[in-house]
Symmetry: C2
Subunit: 157 residues, 2 copies
DNA sequence: GTACGATGGTCAACGTGGTTGACGAAATAG
DNA sequence: CTATTTCGTCAACCACGTTGACCATCGTAC
């Protein structure tokens, strides 16, 4: 059975939250692919956001809630794709700074624009107040330390 | 930066939807672990739901939107964990029926109960009407073919 | 100034959840 | 009876995560 059992109303909520998320993410990446970023994966947007203007792999791992090794591997892939670059830290020979490239910044800016458009589309259907109400409600239900990115288990399985 | 840029309001919605989903799933599995199912992973609930009273690996793959090979591997793991069992189809020697074991049914029932309790908890905080409103709104925004389970990309990365 | 603990990056091995391609066995269509 | 389709499986691979180990470097304490 594909759709959840109506006798189990609790199944509906997580399913719809996931479906809503996936809808937005799928729309985003379809649009990003059209705009010259076909190899940007759902994970990458979060990583680029977390990199910001520059960090290290360890700090990135903390922000994303994963090990520094996992963060390092993800950085490797994004470097290979041309979205990030590494540079030595002149002040500390152990640290390697991770920075977005121009392409990385372009992807990030386009993501922001597309997400804004998608939110507008939701507002056009549901009304701006209901979208804001969903955001308010969810913000009340998710623990503050889950809403921040620096907590384990944000993505992936 | 961990929290999204407030100048980019669009980032908020997907982040909160994911956070809401993860909060429910994390709470569910913390409770399931307490109730004797510590090795049930987030994915497994969907799979058990999709198996229902019995299917084959191929059909399961279609329902879950993944390849039959991926479905087969997941069934392997759930068989090893004691949640599913395979049996030959007397009517078709190619097919192998996949059925939940008693333990699988127990996990499924407990998941349903816990999800219902979690939804009640949300209703106690937000009010039953707002929870229902979130469900209604999300149902309007997700394409029907995404809400059904038999579409690619439901879980995982 | 040197010894030492904490930190940053990397390597290796592994687990899980996916993919595609190939292939044999069994059912079905002509 | 033969051709095609379907089911299950094997193999190779990829993305993303884990632990454990290790070395280089930094900061501190003596």
């Amino acid at each position: 059975m594909a759709t959840p059992d109506p006798d189990r109303p609790g199944f509906l909520l997580p399913l719809l939250l996931l479906a809503g998320f996936r809808t937005l993410i799928d729309d985003l990446h379809a649009e990003l692919a059209r705009q010259g970023h076909p190899d940007l994966r759902p994970l990458h947007g979060f990583v680029l956001q977390a990199v910001g203007n520059g960090t290290t792999a360890s700090e990135l791992g903390q922000r994303l809630g994963v090990s520094k090794q996992a963060a390092g591997k993800t950085v490797d892939r994004l470097v290979a794709l041309g979205y990030l670059e590494r540079a030595d830290d002149p002040a500390d020979a152990r640290r390697k700074l991770v920075r977005p490239t121009d392409r990385g910044l372009d992807g990030l800016r386009r993501s922001a624009v597309v997400f804004d458009q998608l939110r507008d589309r939701w507002a056009a259907t549901l009304g701006p107040d209901r979208v804001a109400a969903i955001e308010d409600d969810l913000r009340r239900m998710v623990p503050a330390d889950v809403f921040r990115l620096d907590v384990p288990g944000w993505f992936g399985t």
